[in-house]
Symmetry: C2
Subunit: 424 residues, 2 copies
């Protein structure tokens, strides 16, 4: 008998029918002899509905109260799911993040899990019950206030609980069949991957792939919990995310390119006319970091010797854009730069693969593919297993298609048939 | 400076506009120099919507999970109310029943408050914040599970918090101007009462008046907290409910009849052909009580000597009807009765007044009024300050009107003008 943590997203429990379907799946897992702990997100668009309600009474609701409000969403879904399971004749008990022992810091809206003390979950499992836990939420260690982990946080709840419970596997149920070489909604020729390394998945998540929350992968990697991303609509195996699939002896060779992620949620700020003096860049990024804003890519143009001035561009989440402009405005005179430009019409594409580190020329091949497709590259950033480029937002899908083809990721007819399972 | 507990019902916070209106009222109270602790119910019909959702996945949802589900309603309303107050420039903090220290037994769906330990509320008030507490909910002392107090439970939360915080007054905001001599929706000539004794209010609440939850009045009486029932739509004073308004020296004389309550939520069960032997009635009511069903009125017919059999009728909440029939069916042979009749087309009217105990002839006058209005009385029950009669449900409103007139409660033109506040 093994212990399985299953996470179901909001689209899987969008309505009563969805809840009943998921309940049947959970009951089947339990009947197969496993202990089951389920993490569930809020139903369908209910989180957005709650945000709309908040905005009707306040343009800038306090973060503590917004967290209190939003956590009502999982409270509803988990209770209804427990009822649907009970209706199938099994015992289920729902628990809030706080009751499940999900202890976080007090950073409302994007709290980090500090500890998980799942005593009540263990008790429920030992009593033979199915435990249902609210995703996305926890309780602050210091203030005892209710917190949320940010969008996608239910994935992290699942991985953290799986680690604390020493689960055998953490299954992430979604509405696609697994992790693909690119987003199949914009690229129908994308192929499903059977296995991805944690390292690659981290880069995919950080690069805008919505399939898994970044911190979920970090948790799973740190505690050695295998993740299994699969569809709640089929019984097909999905994609396993494990720490070292390409170890010697595993018989698997690291693919040169695993997949392509894209992201239109970022904006670019260019700080114009920065005095080319020691510490000026540090001053700019300190001001931004002190406001709690994470930046992604940074490009500093070569200083024009005659003027002694340089331009610095960086990307950041669009949602942090107004705040960043505000804090930079406040230090404009002190730092002595001339102007700021804000651009939220950018797109970012990232090409990721663990095999990249032993294969030179990946960047060159990518830039050639972009040039052939008439796509202008505005910024470039590389890591050991990733190359990211920024383009105009409206060129991003063309960029993904061009790169996907250039790196030979498009599914061939034969492979597509195997994957589709028609047996021809 | 005084400490005021204010309770707002679901109809006062039915939508974003209602929430903002209530927020303004709360802020005005705070600005007048008072400490304010607010208890709020779920918005509008949201509790019913959650029950509908539960019934979509299960015809008989487990009580623990139903409580978990329903408490999402106040979580939403309290967070949104705190946001609306913050938007007016005041600091507000919302707290769940559990966070506010509302400790209950584990009787899901109708839990009783065992203790209130409002440490976090006191801290919030001392910090100058407005505290918002979820009504209707608590946490079980033994299981640590979330509980609800039953319909109208937010009133009880308010009175219990007012007692624990030693508040100066507990204001119950509603959509009518106070407590009336009868329900003004069915009797436009009903008069608002300025003062009602706790004793009378308890009988009104127990007799079907929806204006205040019975346990709320019990709490306020036990801890000597004045209740003030008033409209959230006007600044008029409402009805004060205090322990002994008719004490010597208060200058107030107890009215013979204070008001008339009516109730269509009960059903009548008649157990037919019960052997007229010692202990048979006790057997019947023990079986019903063991199922957790509260019964209200009981009538035992005179035994017909020739048969040695008697009939026993009692009233109970319609919602408990099916369960009662079930448990009685199970003991039918043991007790040896012949049959059961179930009737949910009954109405109950209660005439209540503290002055009744010194005025003979109240029952006679009531029965005369019913006879004059051609209304048949099926059951009668009396206490020191109350006379209740059961009629056909479709005759109940006529019964209320006839009694209201017979006891001189209809508002005269002059009184109505004074109450309307036109100053003429």
């Amino acid at each position: 008998m093994s212990l399985i943590v299953q996470k179901y997203g909001g689209s899987s429990v969008a309505d009563a029918e969805g809840v009943k379907r998921v309940a049947r799946r959970i009951v089947q897992t339990k009947q197969a002899g496993h202990d089951v702990c389920v993490v569930v997100s809020a139903m369908g668009d209910s989180t957005d509905d709650l945000i709309d309600l908040a905005n009707k009474v306040s343009p800038a609701p306090p973060a503590r109260e917004l967290d209190m409000l939003l956590t009502a969403g999982e409270r509803i879904s988990m209770a209804v799911l427990a009822m649907a399971i009970a209706d199938l004749g099994m015992e289920a008990r729902s628990f809030t993040g706080s009751q499940a022992g999900v202890i976080t810091d007090a950073d409302h809206g994007k709290a980090r899990i500090l500890d998980v003390t799942p005593g009540r979950i263990t008790q429920a499992l030992e009593a033979g019950h199915i435990a249902i836990v609210a995703g996305f939420q926890g309780v602050s260690q210091t203030t005892k206030d209710i917190t949320t982990l940010g969008r996608g946080g239910s994935d992290t709840t699942a991985a953290a609980l799986a680690a604390a419970l020493r689960a055998d596997v953490c299954e992430i149920y979604t509405d696609v069949d697994g992790v693909f070489t690119a987003d199949p909604r914009i690229l129908p020729s994308a192929r499903k991957l059977d296995v991805v390394s944690c390292e690659e998945m981290l880069d995919l998540a950080a690069s805008g792939s919505k399939i898994l929350h970044l911190r979920c992968v970090e948790y799973a990697r740190r505690y050695g919990i295998p993740l299994h991303v699969r569809s709640s609509w089929s019984k097909h195996p999905g994609t396993f995310i494990v720490d070292n699939p390409y170890d010697e002896g595993s018989g698997m060779e690291a693919p040169i390119i695993t997949g392509i992620a894209h992201d239109v949620s970022e904006a670019k700020i260019t700080v114009v006319g920065v005095p080319d003096e020691k510490g000026k860049a540090a001053d700019i990024f300190t001001a931004v970091a002190d406001a709690g804003i994470s930046i992604d890519m940074i490009v500093q143009n070569v200083s024009v010797a005659a003027t002694g001035l340089t331009d610095i561009s960086f990307t950041l989440p669009q949602s942090d854009g107004p705040k960043a402009i505000q804090v930079l405005q406040a230090v404009k005179t002190t730092i002595g730069f001339a102007d700021m430009l804000y651009d939220d019409k950018i797109g970012k594409m990232s090409v990721i693969g663990a095999g990249m580190r032993t294969n030179p020329g990946i960047s060159a091949k990518l830039f050639r593919a972009m040039a052939d497709a008439d796509i202008n590259i505005e910024m470039i950033s590389t890591s050991e297993i990733r190359v990211s480029v920024v383009t105009r937002a409206d060129q991003l899908e063309a960029a993904v298609r061009a790169a996907h083809t250039a790196f030979g990721l498009d599914s061939t007819e034969g492979e597509a048939i195997v994957y589709g399972g028609t047996g021809r």
